[in-house]
Symmetry: C2
Subunit: 539 residues, 2 copies
Amino acid sequence: MKSIVCSVRVEAAPPALHDNTADLDRLRQALLAALADDRFLTIPFERMVPVARVFRESGFAGYALLNDQEQGWVLADFLAEKPQVLAGMALDLGTTHLEATLLDLEGGNVLASGNLENSQISFGADILSRIHYATAKRRQQKQPAPDFLDPGLRELQETIIAAINELAGQLAAAAGLEAHAIRALSVSGNTTMAHLFLGIDPYHICREPYIPLFNCAPALEAGQLKLAIHRAAPVWIMPSVGSYFGGDLISGILASGMAQSNKTRMLIDVGTNAEVVIGNREWLIACAGAAGPALEGGVARMGMRAGPGAIEYVSIDLESYDLTCRTIANVPARGICGSGLIDLVAALYLSRVIDIRGKIRDPKKEQDQARAAFMKAHIRERDGMRSFLVVGEKESFEGRAVLLEQIDLDAMIRSKAAMYAVLKTLISQVGLDFSDLEEIVVAGAFGRHINPERAITLGMLPDLPLSVYRAIGNSSLRGAEEVLLDRASRLACEKIVSSITYLELNVNQEFMIRFSGARFIPHTDSSLFPSVPSFNGRE
Amino acid sequence: MKSIVCSVRVEAAPPALHDNTADLDRLRQALLAALADDRFLTIPFERMVPVARVFRESGFAGYALLNDQEQGWVLADFLAEKPQVLAGMALDLGTTHLEATLLDLEGGNVLASGNLENSQISFGADILSRIHYATAKRRQQKQPAPDFLDPGLRELQETIIAAINELAGQLAAAAGLEAHAIRALSVSGNTTMAHLFLGIDPYHICREPYIPLFNCAPALEAGQLKLAIHRAAPVWIMPSVGSYFGGDLISGILASGMAQSNKTRMLIDVGTNAEVVIGNREWLIACAGAAGPALEGGVARMGMRAGPGAIEYVSIDLESYDLTCRTIANVPARGICGSGLIDLVAALYLSRVIDIRGKIRDPKKEQDQARAAFMKAHIRERDGMRSFLVVGEKESFEGRAVLLEQIDLDAMIRSKAAMYAVLKTLISQVGLDFSDLEEIVVAGAFGRHINPERAITLGMLPDLPLSVYRAIGNSSLRGAEEVLLDRASRLACEKIVSSITYLELNVNQEFMIRFSGARFIPHTDSSLFPSVPSFNGRE
């Protein structure tokens, strides 16, 4: 009984003249005896009559469904028969995408999974524009009614609730269930998304000193949010630490296991922002938002999220200069996702198509014949700007060539430099070396298929044995799954929030120096990357 | 901070770049520090935004209003200024009447008091007819919607809520407050009234084996019941023990202080039913509903509730045969209330107008001249039935004489016999004598002005020194007041409910024998009443 909802068999003696305990008091006594703990049990007012009715009609026996809330047990339902499956939905509430898993809360197995675009995008692509939208229509009321909601905020909330309901319906259908059979929901998202989800004013999040209205949400039930799942389903919202340090990252820390480990681990989570945490069960130190442009769709002009048609793997044979691409779902290429981009840039560096600054070299000046031929075939130039042709018009989706432009490369170099500078600054801050790390957990859409070897080649990740790296995919979703299944994980979130130290890198001088040094491949100081061939000074 | 709502001064440092705790988390931390206990603090979802707004606008300082619930603290409101008064309403939710007090929760003083007829009377004068009304229109739905309410039940609930709102408005106005300034409500009523108040099916209460749906109500707030007081006001409902042993009696036990005393006390509460409890801090034994017709309005044809025009005091001078009456408010007599009836019947017995069986004697057979003249003036006879004229047409209200008929006298004798039999059976049951009692607490409308000496004359109450008797008036209301002011009293209710033993007298052979013996004035065994003149065998 560690999941957030559990079913408990209850049997009571039927009432008699000599045993005239009231129906609900009888249920309460039998339930407390079955639970055998000393936690408080709440039977909510609105559930008294339906619960008592089933209890009586089933001969004073059946199955109580209990929500495990921080303050104790809450009776969610009473059923005559044991439910076939107790389904819970874990949701990564991303700024651009929603990704969810439907779990069997008793067995822990996945019943269905799916994703959906965050339809709030129509009100603003990023967090800042949504905060603006939420509060721009604010009426200048001195004393708003207690249930007053800014019209923009209401729109944003209704939109995201509708999207979650759609996704819940899809998952339930895929598992052969009705949406209201979903008995729990965990939500992991950044601080602004959590505010918008609850319809709570995010105004101060983006204004100095950047204070959210809440970090820890109260115990909620789905009915309070008009969610179309079971109205008594507990809604667990991952706590956040601050405006720019959201529940999604707490979720990632949880999923990385670092807060439960005696040895020190590092978590690198690249989503819309890149976030890095180092720590163990004793301490946690984190920084976020400083890694520059993200590696997922949006960096390169041809960049895209990992999905059908995204190039996720690239290699260039250093002898034959054969270029090999693989797209997700093996369909014609539409663009390139994070892992493909890293592969590509690493390959371009190793094959010396680009120099240590990430600049596409001039094919005309190339001495090596094979390389010159390859470069000639792949490098295009327009208005003095070079670009690299990854997939030509004939093989690509709808005849749109996949091109990596110099401007994209420059952004990529800045990103990787920022990433390494963050990692190095953070590890120095705690007086450790990278070699002290038990594990580096790589998460995010970026992390799903990443080849750490290639990232090391770029000087993006430290030059450590590959066995140190572990990819966990969408860590925000993984953490959301864990809290559905395990009370210890729910309690761990609280501990993570209270033990985390946040390092502000935007104003960190050391970070800026390290960032400059990292703007070469693999690094100005090539001794930091002994496994990577260095072409410095061999131009 | 023992009252059910308390205000707590909160001061927090304003947020800064280096201190970016979220507004509500900041409030929570400051509040927990001010409370300095380890109880759980709930900030309900719907209160997050308004509370955070005032906290911020008041410079991160102000006054938190907290509801003290069993599971911990619940934040009810946040105010910039300390509230002038924290008002709470204690309500005796009687079947026929509502009686209420408005208290200052911090000082404990009475701000206002008042009463109102229970407007549910239009749906049925007694509990049984209201239970019938509540469920007669029941639709035969296999699976009623979760929010389904029987139409009759809904009507009854809406009626009582409207009446409470009316009374709350009156009390608030009398205290110079708005109704929504009432921050707490305690309700003491019988089990059926508690069900009707919450709109909960009372169907099984009056059907063997007489099982209520609930005895202990959950934590509630006024907004959930559409009460017109502050929506976050906690609504405390006195727990009951069974269908015929309601929260009003638990309230009386609490108010009597017996459950907190080392010495044994007895509580006699006469309302619509007569209920008797004996006990101390170790044990409590009770019986209810067996005392026969009540002594308040309804027994005698001229019987009425204590109110203007009710005869509340009667005496007959045993020398001059002068009859003296006093009415409440000194207005012409409209009827006779419980205390007046006891005075009257005792006086009729002592003046030998009635015999030891309570029968009006034949004036023609009277030997004593003065008494014969008195009887001739006061005894009327019609169809062979005698009646006693208390107040003649000329002095009474609207010229309707106040008459005590033989049939009323017979009912009165049965009532007093039942009362004494109950007391005697109960005291024997626990192996004690009346003389072992530290105190006899007399409560109910009946108890407000009762002269125990006259009740002893009738053989209704045991023949003990008058100092043993203490009248506390409406004990149901007294208990409701106590729980508003004192957490220890709220906790005591739980203890009372769990330690009480209920004695069923309707099927008790000993009770029936004692009842027969008590149908004489003062008793068949006159040695039980040494202070009362015995006319047995002196007819």
